[in-house]
């Protein structure tokens, strides 16, 4: 995190408009490998962690297409005593990764409960859910088949993948998927904003702008209502 942060801020200074903040939260039973995944995400390392206390916050800066994503990873504790505070962490998340251990059936059952809880809480479309079967390297002890995971994911309408935090298998792909889902979402949102801006429900009576120009990353919209010119400045950066 530390090594990527300066890079991010340098990046941010140059093209502040291109850095997207993505809040991502890892949920699931204790011992399924949330912290290991988080460590893979942020530092591409593996170490045997001890149980998370409360919630760990890590960051990772990622370049995707033309955009820079600053992933804020909230790695929650799976222990039951912290469940009452978990909403604090997943509220407002762009992406939620519900993790289970493919070698432990009960963590898979718990994952379903997590998904149900999230789907009850979140605003549709604001949070993208991923179901993640972790510990793919322990295939010989598998208790949950990939098909079961896939079925659940389809049933709930969420994305599905199996990973291994130990070997790093599919971890970057997963991160890429999270990033892409977010850039798509934000691009769509920006496109919406653009239209809002070009046709603002504006104080001047809703007239269509006749001309617009981009200056210094801001849009200047020239509005021509009933014979005189005025300038409308877009508040949002492009």
């Amino acid at each position: 995190m530390e090594e990527s942060l300066p890079r991010a801020s340098g990046e941010a200074r140059r093209r502040p408009d291109r850095t997207l903040r993505v809040k991502m939260v890892l949920l699931g039973s204790s011992g399924v490998g949330k912290s290991s995944l988080a460590l893979r995400f942020s530092k591409d390392r593996f170490q045997n962690p001890s149980p998370t206390v409360g919630c760990a916050y890590l960051t990772r800066v990622m370049h995707l297409g033309g955009a820079t994503l600053r992933l804020e990873i909230w790695d929650t504790a799976g222990q039951e005593k912290y469940h009452s505070v978990t909403p604090l962490y997943y509220r407002g998340a762009h992406a939620a990764l519900v993790v289970y251990d493919i070698c432990k059936k009960e963590t898979f059952v718990r994952a379903q409960l997590w998904i149900r809880e999230l789907q009850r809480q979140y605003v549709p479309g604001s949070t993208v859910l991923f179901l993640v079967g972790n510990k793919g390297d322990l295939d010989q002890d598998r208790q949950v088949s990939a098909q079961e995971g896939q079925n659940l994911a389809e049933d709930k309408g969420v994305s599905f993948t199996e990973t291994s935090a130990l070997s790093g298998h599919q971890v970057n792909e997963l991160l890429g998927a999270v990033g892409r889902s977010e850039t798509n979402k934000q691009t769509n949102k920006q496109a919406d904003d653009k239209i809002d801006l070009l046709y603002p429900g504006n104080p001047l009576g809703g007239s269509r702008p006749s001309q617009f120009q981009v200056f210094a990353d801001r849009v200047l919209v020239l509005v021509q209502p009933a014979g005189f010119w005025s300038v409308w400045t877009g508040s949002r950066r492009f």
């Binding site: 204790s30 001890s50 039951e80």
Partner: protein
């Protein structure tokens, strides 16, 4: 136990609402317990509960200016005469006092003390018989709250409890609920020990049924100490020759560590609601923290002295660090603590908080243990609810924990806020602190700081000492601290360290004995000579080479006290600075009071 009723009274006012859904949408607002409310009321009860070892026995000591050499000498000598005789029989009389508990008037009656040996054997032998009964209650987790979390981080848990090696552990600690359900065992799995714990609970309730309280059981080999706190029963089975008071103090630390994770209010509420609740569900994953605490209790004299050890640091550097912390503030921040090598560097407190109350050493110990026990902190920034049991046992702080020097991870910043939403604001404080420390090159200066060697004192024959001052500068109710040099040869090996600590523990138990407190002990042990001395201004334990004479020891102590006086700015946090983050304290305390009303149910009920 005496003085425990306050928490029952508290629980009475608590509303029980039955949330059956395993995660309540409102739950997130429920953890927002604040701590500032009714501090005054709390502080009474918490002082009553505090570890007895902090008790001082200052009866007739009148003059103890370190500099007054002659008076000191005569005083010392007078004491020494009377003391030496007693000390010779020391080894035996530690184990020979079933009277100690009896003196308090409500200990076990005689026939039980006599059968102490039997009880201990029974506890050890109770083993696996009837094990099924204890386990059954646990096997239907799905019906209760989805899926049972399987605690997957086990170290001593797999130990065979029928093996001799299990019985030979120096100190066993067990925690169980009033219903006899196992909650924690230091060694071996709780399931395998459920019948043993059943026996313990039987003992407790048998004595209770006669309107009495069981304090301890003595046998030749073991001391069994019981401590009941609310719905929890803590038991220590020790062969360490520590005094009952000391062992009880250690059990209290275990209790506080559990409270720090769950709060007293929620534990009472849970058990009020469901007597046979399996608290292990909530403590899953925290065994390591309790294990770590017990290891620290055994190896770190801070717990014995109920004082905090801070890293020796040039006072200018410590002041500059304090100033950095003082400047990086945000609303609702109450404590900023800087830690290096698991020792305190500096601590800055919110102004209104310090007026009401100070941070207790035990709370600092729990925080340090939490940080030390979890390597997970090294990965990123942590944001977690935590309760400081002596500050307020029923409410949560929100702790921000981050290391400032990755990847070495020796310097750790701990910021405590009362606002659970304040993560980003508090994380911003960390950036400020980080920047300021980089500008002043503080990290490399801190890295140079280390414990001092006893040779710096310049007193030959002095091998080690522990000095705990009580002289608090005016108007600063400050953290109780102690100073101590590194343990060097011949105490560099783990066994020898432990041996010295045991000697200190023995001296401590004599000084603080309830039946016959002493102010001064000169103890000639097999391989060293120890002198312990308590006055109204300090408590001092010293260890000399075995050939030292009394006169030498006395001169050495005078020199040592002079040296400490000279170095005190470096050895202690002298003037803990403050900041103000609540512009209108009266208003804030009011609002947090109302919030506490809401937070009386902090979400655990939803798990039942």
């Amino acid at each position: 136990m005496e003085g425990d009723n306050h928490q029952d009274g508290e629980a009475e006012g608590v509303q029980i609402s039955d949330h059956s859904s395993e995660s309540d949408p409102a739950a997130d607002t429920l953890l927002g317990n604040h701590l500032l409310p009714d501090l005054a009321a709390k502080s009474d009860s918490s002082t009553a509960n505090r570890n007895q070892t902090t008790k001082l026995h200052l009866s007739d000591v009148t003059t103890e200016e370190p500099g007054q050499n002659e008076e000191l000498c005569s005083q010392l000598e007078a004491k020494l005469e009377t003391d030496e005789a007693k000390v010779s029989g020391s080894r035996n009389d530690v184990s020979a006092h079933p009277a100690d508990g009896g003196a308090e008037g409500n200990a076990v009656d005689n026939d039980q003390s006599d059968s102490g040996e039997f009880v201990v054997t029974m506890l050890a032998k109770a083993k696996l018989e009837e094990q099924g009964i204890g386990v059954k209650g646990r096997s239907s987790p799905l019906s209760e709250a989805g899926v049972e979390e399987s605690p997957s981080f086990k170290s001593h848990r797999d130990e065979d409890v029928t093996a001799d090696s299990w019985r030979q552990h120096r100190k066993h600690i067990f925690v169980l609920s009033e219903a006899g359900k196992p909650i924690y065992s230091r060694y071996g799995s709780e399931e395998a020990l459920s019948s043993t714990m059943g026996v313990m609970m039987a003992l407790v309730s048998f004595v209770q049924s006669g309107d009495n309280v069981i304090h301890s059981v003595y046998s030749e080999e073991h001391t069994v100490v019981f401590l009941q706190k609310g719905p929890l029963v803590l038991v220590c089975v020790s062969s360490s020759r520590q005094s009952e008071q000391q062992l009880r103090g250690e059990l209290l630390y275990v209790y506080y560590q559990i409270i720090s994770m769950l709060t007293q209010a929620s534990i009472s509420r849970i058990f009020e609601h469901k007597k046979n609740y399996d608290l292990r569900r909530l403590l899953a994953g925290s065994e390591k923290i309790l294990d770590g605490l017990l290891n620290l209790v055994d190896s770190d004299p801070s717990f014995l002295l109920a004082a905090v050890h801070c890293l020796p640091l040039a006072s200018s550097l410590r002041d500059s660090l304090s100033q950095i912390l003082q400047k990086a503030i945000t609303p609702n921040l109450v404590f900023s603590i800087l830690i290096a090598k698991n020792q305190l560097l500096t601590i800055v407190q919110e102004k209104t908080v310090i007026e009401d109350s100070r941070l207790e050493p035990a709370d600092v110990h729990l925080l340090l243990n939490l940080i030390g026990a979890s390597s997970a902190f090294q990965a990123g920034e942590i944001w977690t609810p935590i309760c400081l049991p002596l500050f307020n046992p029923d409410c949560y702080f929100y702790a921000y924990i981050s290391y400032l020097d990755p990847p070495e991870c020796t310097v750790c910043l701990l910021l405590l806020s009362t606002d659970k939403e304040a993560f980003y604001a508090v994380a911003e404080c960390k950036r400020k602190i980080e920047e300021a420390m980089a500008a002043q090159n503080s990290l490399s200066l801190i890295a140079k700081a280390q414990l001092y060697s006893v040779s710096q004192v310049g007193v030959s024959d002095l091998r080690h000492f522990m000095y705990k001052p009580f002289d608090v500068p005016d108007n600063y109710r400050q953290l109780t601290q102690f100073t101590s040099p590194e343990m060097e040869a011949p105490y560099s090996s783990e066994e020898e360290k432990m041996r010295l600590l045991d000697l200190y523990r023995y001296m401590h138990s004599r000084i603080h004995s309830t039946s016959r407190p002493l102010k001064l002990i000169y103890h000639v042990a097999e391989r060293e000579t120890l002198l312990a001395w308590v006055t109204s201004k300090f408590e001092l334990y010293t260890c000399f080479s075995p050939l030292v004479t009394k006169t030498c020891a006395i001169t050495a102590i005078t020199k040592l006290l002079r040296w400490i006086k000279k170095e005190e700015d470096r050895l202690f946090i002298r003037y803990p600075p403050k900041y103000s983050t609540t512009p209108n304290p009266s208003k804030s305390s009011k609002s947090s009071k109302s919030e506490q009303q809401d937070s009386t149910d902090n979400g655990y009920l939803s798990l039942l």
